[in-house]
Amino acid sequence: MIEFQGASRWYGQVIGLNDVTCHIDKGVTALIGPNGAGKSTFIKLVSGQLRPTTGSVTVLGQSPFANQEVFRRLGICPEVDSFYEEMTGQEFVTFLATLGGLTGARRSSRVSEVIQFVGMEANAGRRIGGYSKGMRQRIKLAQALVHDPDVLLLDEPLNGLDPVGRREVTDLVKSLGEAGKCVVISSHILYEIEHMTRRILLINRGRLLAQGDLYEIRGLIDRHPHRISLESDQPRRLAAKLMELDGVVSSRLEPISGAVEIETRDPDGFYRRLPEIVAAGPFDIRSFASPDNNLEAVFRYLTE
């Protein structure tokens, strides 16, 4: 649905995005990277606010810049906290629904639906200028959804939301992805991204560092050994035993928890052998976990 072919975007002498090639299909894709990485430039290129300086960007097979055909099927929830402050939430969503091509009864019903969907029915009649940050995020999301777009761009949609709101938006994004929409969500809150999708695009300093399934990407990073932490009744003996396995490059005891943390270059092989080790004894393994199997670890490895 979204295609970048060697796309770069320069702001004068500063590069915003550098030679990005990627393909984004239906479902939820997370765009992650530190501040200033190029996430917003990426979103602006997809939403047709900017043209690439070199290369091409296509959405639904067409260049999105000032393209009405694309905009009919694209919704954007921008990062900026900007509104027509004098309008009420209802007026704001209705105004943008009208510009989105909705009219009459269909417009009224869609506006009501999305306002209810984002949980703003009680406050839709109030001026946006008086909204809390969370309400502003919700109404911004409502305007992005009002014309039922196939491609949805959400730039840091969790900012300013309380925990309940975050949970609701997370569930909403997941449901949109499951409904076959192409949702691109940018965020630096990695923990919450992980709850929405495993498909990521990792950008840093304008470059696309990695794309694909989070766990597959983690598996490909063999330059960095994979850490696995195990809790046992006999941690020292377990550590010595694990060091005998192929691929294990180090082991150490956690000073506080007493857990054994090993580093292996062959995590799959390690997990295959683990049941044998447990069965052979003489130690119990109470739990094991990999701190490197999360998004934060991938992010850290790739950006450091």
Partner: protein, 257 residues
């Protein structure tokens, strides 16, 4: 919707409160002039009207409001960062621009016409205010707001800080260039407005620098020529603004990573 929004935005109570002193100022000056004349000397309403309408309404209020309102069509959306909502909707960019401009232009006309009518009421009196010259002036205000507005709109689509350039043009170029010898007068909108709405200023006796410069520059512009010139400026600027707006990227600078 965009037209109504722009007009409603301009005529919001808070905006009107800010514009009210400017709109009322010529009338207040007219009343002041009148009250001063009562204390000694004669009050000639035509002279007061010509001085205040020609110098203040056409020379200041019309230009100032046109600059602020027309550049605001683009720059206000940029500054409040709401442009993204407009430019990502399935509506042609030129339609967004022209609809918002029409609202802004109509708002300018309402405010400047109000200033003209208030001034006429203050100098001629409420019963005598609706004279032919006042109606002519209102027609010229409409045309002037259109020409100035389209020029400043074009400026807003081209540069990042249009208000500064607009003010420089309004109070630098428009004030001084018509006085220079040669045909430079013809590249000033104010020259055409003065032809369509002449407001002869009273002679001060001794010739000042301005009068001398004007006398050195006797370029003749006919009313038809003036009207056509203003329409040409309007059409050219609006087309150029629409084309520019359709092709350029409008992203607030601080949003650019």
């Amino acid at each position: 919707m965009l037209f109504k929004g722009a007009l409603r935005d301009l005529l919001r109570p808070r905006r009107l409160l800010m514009a009210a002193p400017l709109v009322a100022l010529p009338a207040l000056l007219g009343l002041f002039w009148r009250s001063m004349a009562r204390r000694g000397g004669t009050f000639e309403p035509e002279i007061a009207y010509n001085v205040l309408q020609g110098g203040f309404v056409f020379g200041f209020i019309l230009v100032l409001l046109s600059v602020i309102v027309a550049t605001g069509v683009v720059s206000q959306e940029m500054e409040q960062r709401t442009m993204v909502y407009l430019l990502t909707r399935p509506i042609a960019r030129y339609r967004i621009l022209l609809a918002r401009f029409t609202g802004a232009w109509l708002g300018t006309c309402i405010l400047v016409s109000a200033a003209t009518l208030l001034l006429a009421c203050s100098v001629f009196g409420p019963t005598e205010a609706f004279q032919a010259i006042v109606w002519t002036d209102i027609k010229v205000v409409v045309l002037g707001a259109l020409a100035y507005g389209s020029l400043f709109l074009l400026c807003a689509t081209l540069v990042n800080k249009p208000l500064i350039y607009g003010l420089f043009f309004a109070f630098g170029w428009e004030s001084w260039v018509p006085l220079f010898p040669t045909n430079l007068k013809k590249v000033c909108i104010v020259s055409y407005l003065r032809v369509l709405a002449p407001h002869p200023q009273p002679s001060q006796g001794d010739e000042g620098v301005m009068e001398l410069l004007s006398a050195l520059n006797p370029v003749v512009i006919t009313p038809t020529g003036a009207r056509n010139a203003l329409l040409i400026v309007t059409v050219v600027c609006l087309v150029a603004a629409a084309v520019t707006f359709s092709r350029r990227a409008y992203v607030p600078r601080e949003d650019s990573e």
